[in-house]
Amino acid sequence: MKALVIVGHGSHLNEDSSLPVYEHAERIRQSGGFDEVVECFWKEEPSMRHVLDTVESEEVCVVPAFISEGYFTQQVIPRELGLDGPVTFKDGKIVRYAGPLGTFEKMADVILERVEDLMRGKELREGRTALVLLGHGTDLNKRSSDVIYLNARRIRERGVYDIVEEAFLDQDPEVGEVVGKVEAENVILIPVFVAEGWHTRETIPEDLGLTGEVTVREDRTIFYGAPVGTHPSMASLIAARARETEHYEVVQNVS
C-alpha cells in the first residue's frame, strides 16, 4: 500500500493555515492514486512526531506544503518525522521525502491558473499588464526569495505578460513600491503563499489601500488574487511532487 502524507504548518489560533492542506488531501483522495492520504502539522494534531503511527501503508511519501526550501523543510520536518534524507527506512516503512512545492516546474502553471481565475470576467484597462509575484522574503533565508525569482523568470519566458515583477513584504523590492511604480495600467498581484493569513487578509490590503479583488487608482487598476497555495490545482502539484519521489534512489551506506 502507498500513502501520501502532506505536512502543513498549522496554527494554534485559526484554521486558515491547515485548511488548504485538508482540502488538497481530500482532492487527492478523490482522484485516487494513493491508498491513504494523511495530513499532519507542526502546530496542530496529528503532529509530525506521531503521524507515521497512524499510517498503514508500507510505502510513504511525505510532501511538505511549503513554498520554499528553508528552516521547516530542511530542519524541522526531517527532525520531527525522523527522516535521514530523501529515503528513510523506519519502523517497517520506506519513507520518501519530497522537496517543497515552489521550485517544482508546475508551480508556474498553478500561478497562471490563479491569475486566470482572478481575471475571469474582469475588464482590463487599455495599456500594459504587469504580473507581480509577492513573496514573504526575509533576510534570514535567501531561498524564500529565490522561489519568487525562479517563478517570475519561468513566467517571463512564456511571454504572456508585458511585465513580470517580484515583490516582497520584508525585503526589497517592497510590494507597495512595485505595485505603485511598475509601468503598467493593469497590475495583477498574486501572493505566492501557501495559505490565507494575517498578511493576505489584513496587512497587504491595508498597506496598499486595496478595496477587494479590484482596486481602481487614477493611473492603474490593481487586481489582487488569493494565495497560490489555496488554488485547487495545488492538489495535483502535490500529487505530482509525490510521484516524482518514487524514482529516488536509496543511497547505500558505504562504510
Binding site: E15, Y22, E45, Y71, D91
Partner: protein
C-alpha cells in the same frame, strides 16, 4: 541496514484492529475521551458525544472525515487547537461502516490516540521527557530548555490536567524527575509534550525570567501586575471575556491563569 520487512509490526493496523475488538467486547460501548464508541448490532460502529448518550435528535454523519469538522470548533464556535481539550461539541453522531472508517474518524477526533492507546496497552509506548523534547527545539522555541524543573512542573499542572486536557500525561521532566501532578484519568496517553505545551512553556519561561529579575521573592513581577490589572478591568466591566485557548500572550488565558494560581496566589495569600 534496516529495511521494510514483513515481520515488523504495523502499528496502525494492529491498533485499528485492537481498538475495534475492544469496542466490540462492550455492548454498551466504550468511553474514550469525550466520546462513546459502540459496535452496532447491524454491523459497523457508532461514535457520539458521551453527553449525547440518550439523545435522538442528532445530526447523522456517515463520512469518517466529517469528524474533522465536528472536532474543529467548540460549541461557541471557537477554534480548537488541542483535540484533547474537554470542549468537544455535541449534537452529532457518526455511523461508520467498518473498523477502517472507525479508525479514520477517531484519528480526526483524537489524532494518533488509538495508536498510543494500543502501544501503551502492549507496554511498548515510548515516552519522551520534557528535557529531551526541549533539547530538540530550535528557533523561537529554543528557550524552553532554560525552564527550571519547578517551572516545568507548574507548566504541566497548568496546561495538562484533566480540566484543560483529557490526555493522561505520561512524560516526565527528565528520566529521574517525574511530574508531580494529576496525570489524568482518561484512556488517551500523552507520550510527549505537544506543541501547545511547548508554546505555553515558552510563555512560562518569560514569567520565570521576570521572577529572576524581581529581587524580592514576594514582590509581584511586572507581568503579574499586568494580569491582575486586566482581570480587575474585565470583571469591573461585568464580562470577563477569556482569551482563546492558545493565546498565551493574553492575560485572560485559562492556562495562563492556572499558572498564576500556582505561582501568584501564594504571594497574595502568604498565610495560607
Amino acid at each position: 541496514m534496516s529495511r521494510t520487512s514483513p515481520d515488523r509490526e504495523n502499528v496502525a493496523v494492529s491498533s485499528r484492529e485492537a481498538f475495534a475488538a475492544w469496542v466490540g467486547e462492550a455492548p454498551e460501548g466504550r468511553k474514550f475521551g469525550q466520546v462513546v464508541v459502540r459496535k452496532l448490532p447491524s454491523g459497523g460502529y457508532e461514535i457520539r458525544h458521551a453527553s449525547d448518550a440518550g439523545s435522538e435528535n442528532l445530526e447523522v454523519h456517515t463520512n469518517p472525515r466529517d469528524a474533522r469538522d465536528i472536532s474543529k470548533l467548540t460549541e461557541a464556535g471557537e477554534y480548537r487547537p488541542l483535540k484533547s481539550s474537554p470542549n468537544l461539541r455535541r449534537g452529532w453522531v457518526l455511523r461508520l461502516a467498518d473498523d477502517r472508517e472507525l479508525a479514520s474518524a477517531m484519528n480526526y477526533l483524537y489524532p494518533a490516540a488509538i495508536s498510543h492507546w494500543y502501544l501503551l496497552r502492549e507496554g511498548r509506548l515510548k515516552t519522551t521527557s520534557f528535557r529531551e523534547n526541549a533539547a530538540r527545539q530550535s528557533g523561537i522555541y529554543e528557550r524552553v530548555r532554560y525552564l527550571s524543573d519547578e517551572a516545568v512542573q507548574n507548566a504541566a499542572r497548568a496546561c495538562c490536567e484533566d480540566e484543560v486536557c483529557l490526555k493522561k500525561t505520561l512524560w516526565d521532566v527528565d528520566e529521574n524527575t517525574p511530574l508531580e501532578m494529576e496525570r489524568g484519568r482518561g484512556d488517551i496517553p500523552c507520550p510527549e509534550p505537544c506543541s501547545v505545551f511547548i508554546s505555553f512553556a515558552r510563555r512560562v519561561r518569560y514569567f520565570e525570567r521576570e521572577e529572576e529579575n524581581t529581587s524580592d521573592g514576594n514582590a509581584l513581577t511586572p507581568g503579574e501586575r499586568r494580569d491582575l490589572a486586566a482581570l480587575v478591568e474585565a470583571a469591573a466591566s461585568g464580562e470577563v471575556k477569556m482569551a482563546r485557548e492558545a493565546e498565551f500572550e493574553k492575560p485572560l488565558n485559562q492556562r495562563r491563569m492556572r499558572y498564576r494560581r500556582l505561582t501568584l496566589l501564594p504571594k497574595l495569600r502568604p498565610e495560607e
